[in-house]
Symmetry: C3
Subunit: 153 residues, 3 copies
């Protein structure tokens, strides 16, 4: 097993409590060595960090921070599912949805907030396939929603 938990701490980061799903589903579903994590939104301690569309109400830079929060929430879900993020073998796929207006094309910059953090925490194991997509509106009017697919040992 890797020691990703310690590395997370050394980065000054910690896992939040697992956000309660907004609805009647579960935070994650495991099948074999794959863990599918439900779409995570930028919520911390039960509070939405921001609402609105990018870039009108929320800047790209702020949205990158929101994407980081989605990652921490997703990792908290992973840890709850398999016991520890140390059991991660690889981040497989990240689906990043960005609330935006027609003509906006910086979804990848927003998603980089998530991708960069995953690589920072997990190194090579953090490298993942990704789809970054614009959305007209997201749950609870959040600016960013991210779902994850992890491979575990």
């Amino acid at each position: 097993m890797a020691d990703f938990e310690s590395h997370l701490s050394s980065l000054g980061l910690s896992l939040p409590s697992v956000p309660t799903p907004v609805a009647s589903y579960v935070p994650s579903a495991r099948v074999g060595n794959l863990v599918f994590v439900s779409g995570q939104i930028p919520i911390r301690d039960g509070q939405l960090l921001a609402t609105g569309s990018i870039p009108e109400q929320v800047s790209v830079e702020e949205a990158q921070g929101l994407a980081r929060q989605c990652v921490l929430n997703g990792l908290a879900v992973l840890a709850k599912e398999v016991g520890s993020i140390d059991r991660l073998k690889r981040v497989v796929r990240v689906g990043c949805f960005v609330s935006c207006s027609p003509g906006f094309g910086d979804q990848p910059k927003v998603a980089n907030g998530a991708s960069d953090l995953l690589c920072e925490i997990f190194g090579e194991a953090g490298q993942h396939a990704r789809a970054a997509i614009g959305s007209v509106a997201l749950p609870l009017n959040v600016p960013v929603e991210i779902e994850f697919l992890f491979e575990v040992e």
Copy 2:
């Protein structure tokens, strides 16, 4: 094998005929014990049940019913792929796309129409990871489209 088919009947529900894909793809693709089901739309007996955006043309409550139809269509596809929904081991992931306007945030309520029905039919095996996403427009202008990932025995 579970007896989900009987339970479905006892709920007063039945599987529709498998909707013909709108285009040049197939209703489902199986790889190992995973069945990927194409995006299902609220069509029944060849008729679209509704078109338009939520909540302007279609209410959240009506959309929940449309989401239930998407589930029944998806289960019909599953049954065709593996012979019976009794071979389901677990609903793994639900991707729910909701046609809506900027500022709309009740995608999870719409998606609950699907999630609740899956849990009603399959119990614990129906619990799934989920992403609920707003979309500016969906195929044939339907209000809801849902794709499914099932684990089978």
Copy 3:
């Protein structure tokens, strides 16, 4: 192994160089016999083939051609990941996002550009599950983005 590479040539097609990801992720991630390919955009030789929304700035017919380019890019990624497209066992899933306006319902027609080409190249092995979704805006303002899930030997 199949001889899909030769068939591709006989169709007058060739694989492009692998497009550099727009951001901090990787073109594909393999887990077991599954290859997840990142969202591909219609770029060729480093040039975007089109930007804008369908059907206002880009026609459905033109968008089908863009979807074909996304397929070629995705297959180039697959070939880089596993050595050759001859190692493909099956195209499992295609997620096609189409930049469009409210009320547009021809996402399936656009996505057919991709689906038809996959079946043309791979025959039965090219048949896949699919979700076609409208998006308010896509990375770099492209009209089409497609992600792929392939099963390999």
